[in-house]
Symmetry: C2
Subunit: 338 residues, 2 copies
């Protein structure tokens, strides 16, 4: 089997790897229908989070179950399933509170940019669709696995409420699907912060009512202007830099909420400054498993199509070009067909 | 009129000051029935937050209205009133959302360690009791002004829920009243972190079910042990140091909430570390005005007596001894009688 392996900065190789097999009795082996490249894959790709050794890449996946371990009860070979980037038993206290990405059995997935994938804790990690999906639905279902689930968590963590105003910081795939999530959760006004015409266009398709092109303090000033000086009720932080985090915090009204899902890189928050903003802060690795059943329903029923976020589709063996296109911002998100 | 003025580290003087008078038509002048010393007054007293010039101290107060400005409508001379350390118009958007301590007209009060006090925005800041209170109720009503209101906000910001577990970091007056608040809000288990016997005793009187004497990592380990490895649903951070903040964050379960009301001094939060804790963080200067009507009711009806937090009562002219007693932890909180 050949899969994507990162050797160092901008050195991604499509090379022979051992085919995954059942290791634990709770495992499942999937033949992937589609996989993709995540914005977070760009941190190690760019060398910002260096890799110590050649690392199989990819953590977004959906496909057909080929085999399950002896202890797997609810997942069966032949089913089409979707899982999260974080495995979960879905029974521990953290899972029962809806924080499956802090499951006591959590493992962060990797190696999904490949035709076959081993998924630990299959019963607690995977959710099956009602039947095999039509081909055109696969991008939407793949998006549920991480990028939509993460944007959705940003909106939930930012406490998006019907009739209220949400701001989305970050016009990457997660931010764009954060726009979709905020709108689905009933926000009346969704302000997308983007200076990139194609992304602005997609933000509007996903339901953005306003676009703000300014950043930093100027961006905050513009949000204040659009909200009569008050600030937004909810801000989705979908980047993970110091600038984006402060932009999110300062765009929020006192008592409003910031949902942050961009893995923070070098972010330091001054306690006293945060204190006087009166902002509520919640985030972390998205507990996608919590949302999987509902999000699969919404895609299955045609109520939303998050698959539009994939603006480049390549055969898996061209994975290196997929990374380059995202790194150079030529593509929002690359879908890979094994 | 004589009042307390801070000149520098541990140099508090009881000296002649101009008697307050109406300046703005929205002002009220109160003759104070009681005032007190706040834990936050110890920051400048100890020189940790230096004062640039001689500063009239005190921001907790209740008393009888002597005079009101021409624009004051709901507050009348002769009423017994309680106000917050932050003035508010109670009509701006932030006030309407319940964040009166971020009111667009907010001023932080000072000079309340005196017999007479000017209160700006009297209609939006002050709340009157149903009639003049009996003398024995005055400590309880005074506590509502800040220390109870702040402990209450810590519990609300930490999302204390009936039947759940709350932890209180800090055994100062705010922390002790945080215990009372958590209990009143229905927490089944309230774990107070204190190594001070008299404070432990008061915590138990206020409803603490458990006492943890360990601090830092050992304190966190003990909380984990008491919660079967899960962590607490709600943690009230009532100190404001790096150690207390990290103790609060790490004692909380993923998806749980930290309510922080200790003004942070030198606190820096690492974004990535916070991200992986999955904790919800909310705090700031307590919007006491939001809670005043309900808290006054609870004291008036005898359902709680937060006045027990005052374990030292002195005549106002002995204010310097009041500071010393709190600085040396001989007193939890000093009530001053003008």
């Amino acid at each position: 089997m050949k899969g994507a392996v990162l050797y160092g900065p901008r050195d991604i190789r499509f090379e022979e790897r051992d085919a995954p097999r059942i290791v634990e009795p709770t495992d499942a082996i999937l033949r992937l229908s589609a996989t993709c490249i995540c914005g977070s894959d760009l941190w190690p790709y760019r060398g910002i989070s260096p890799v110590a050794e050649p690392t199989p890449m990819g953590h977004e996946y959906c496909g057909i179950v080929e085999e399950v371990g002896k202890a797997v009860k609810s997942i069966r070979p032949g089913q089409f399933v979707i899982g999260s980037f974080a495995t979960s038993d879905n029974t521990c206290p953290h899972c029962r509170y809806g924080y499956q990405s802090s499951c006591v059995h959590r493992e962060f997935m990797s190696g999904a940019q490949a035709p076959v994938l081993r998924v630990p804790h299959a019963d607690g990690t995977l959710v099956a669709t009602p039947e095999l999906p039509p081909a055109e639905m696969i991008p939407g279902l793949l998006a549920v696995s991480d990028v939509l689930g993460t944007g959705w968590f940003a909106a939930v963590a930012a406490d998006v409420q019907p009739g209220k105003t949400a701001v989305v910081v970050g016009d990457g795939a997660v931010g764009l699907l954060g726009v979709l999530a905020a709108r689905q959760l009933g926000a009346q006004r969704v302000i997308a912060m983007s200076r990139h015409p194609a992304r602005q266009q997609l933000a509007r398709e996903f339901g953005a009512t306003d676009i703000v092109t300014e950043r930093g303090d100027a961006g905050v000033a513009r949000i204040k202007e659009l909200t009569k000086g008050v600030g937004a009720d909810s801000v989705l932080e979908c980047v993970g830099t110091q600038e984006s985090m402060m932009q999110a915090i300062h765009a929020t009204r006192p008592g409003g909420s910031v949902g942050y899902v961009g893995v923070p890189h070098g972010v330091e928050l001054n306690g006293e400054e945060l204190f006087y903003t009166h902002v509520r802060l919640h985030g972390g690795p998205a507990p996608v498993r919590r949302f999987l059943p509902d999000l699969i329903d919404l895609v299955w029923s045609g109520k939303m199509n998050p698959g539009k976020v994939f603006d480049l589709t390549l055969p898996l063996d061209q994975v290196a070009e997929g990374y380059r296109a995202m790194d150079e911002r030529r593509a929002i998100k690359t879908l890979l067909r094994p």
